[in-house]
Symmetry: C2
Subunit: 225 residues, 2 copies
């Protein structure tokens, strides 16, 4: 199962063979990890149960994934690698609304929501998971940054806008409700988060500090400051 | 220790006697819980250690707080009751910047940050904690809503603005970084979150749906939609 270890490779580094047996095993292990963590949460997750469900030997799981924290981390990494279609409506606000609506729809769906919810919660429980979680969100923000980059190209946003930051601003309020405050998330909140990020991006808040509109001008004039 | 239970009281309801022995015991137990959860995290938290540290009998802790989850929940409730000074600069943007800077300062401070970080993480681990966490943030948002209500009174924000929602929008991106994505939090991000919430509030995004500016007008005109 483990590929031949070349001298320059750290031990236990699986040799990636896309579409090969190693990739198939990984896909089975990721699927089993997702199913188990959804069913039991982090506290009930065991290497034994993932081995049983995936049909992969426990020894292999320990050798390649080290344990439950490595399994959770790799399931997140695999999730980040999954392609997902970006909206391209020709308008930043509509694109961001579709993105936040997608987050809202997935996490509040009784069928679709439990798995990513359980995976993120489980990842918060270990250093390996937290590292994977950070990489997961960074990857997602980078992927979705394209909607802001297109808006820059259209002249809708100032040159130099940090696209990942635009996406982060649009989605953060949703994840805050889901995973921090526990306040209910509804479609209106999701839309409002997209609209607020659109306004901020158009005002130049997400350009580098030296170019930023440090004091945004109010649509209706505020008091003298 | 337990107050006389009147027939209409559920059992085990402590009779609140502000400044009395019951209040002193609670303060000692909350302080001990905070110290223990900071030192060990939720996984290491035990009723025994809180008993030893507080000098309150273990039986009393179980009777009044049920166990570690009740201790964590009550520590959060006690935290929400702590008064904290609200900024009042006469300008919404500056007020929100001070609030987000305070969140940034506390959570990134090596002395001050570990306790609220450990407490929030611990609360995420049980239903009792999650309920207290939700109430904690709702209370905090409601308290800080005053900065937006003053802005409405000054004519800086549209009438009917939901002040708690303004505060939530300003602070959510910080808690997202701290407790979900794990991305670094810096003073610039904190300021930007306040500025984005200010823009959105001034544009009327946080008024009830029927009055909301559903399609905010871009400072620089966007493409036709």
């Amino acid at each position: 199962m483990s590929g031949a270890n070349h001298p320059e490779q750290p031990p236990h580094t699986p040799t990636p063979r896309p579409g090969g047996r190693s990739a198939r095993v990984r896909a089975e292990v990721v699927a089993a990890t997702l199913a188990e963590v959804t069913a039991t949460g982090y506290d009930g997750l065991t290497v034994e149960a993932v081995a049983t469900r995936s049909g992969v030997h426990k020894a292999t799981l320990y050798r390649r994934w080290c344990g439950v924290d490595g399994l959770v981390a790799d399931a997140l990494t695999a999730s980040a690698d999954q392609p997902w279609p970006l909206p391209d409506t020709g308008d930043l606000q509509q694109d961001l609304r579709r993105i936040t609506h997608e987050v809202f729809s997935v996490f509040t769906d009784p069928e679709l929501g439990p798995t990513p919810t359980a995976l993120i919660s489980a990842a918060q429980r270990s250093d390996a998971g937290a590292t994977a979680l950070r990489a997961f969100f960074a990857t997602r923000h980078r992927q979705a940054a394209e909607v802001a980059e297109r808006a820059v190209a259209r002249g809708e946003l100032p040159a130099g806008t940090d696209g990942a930051e635009v996406v982060r601003a649009a989605t953060a309020p949703l994840y805050y409700r889901l995973f921090v405050s526990g306040e209910p998330l509804d479609a209106r909140s999701a839309e409002r988060a997209a609209d607020a990020a659109t306004l901020a991006a158009r005002a130049g808040l997400f350009t580098p500090a030296e170019d930023a509109t440090a004091t945004p001008t109010a649509p209706e004039a505020g008091p003298a400051t």
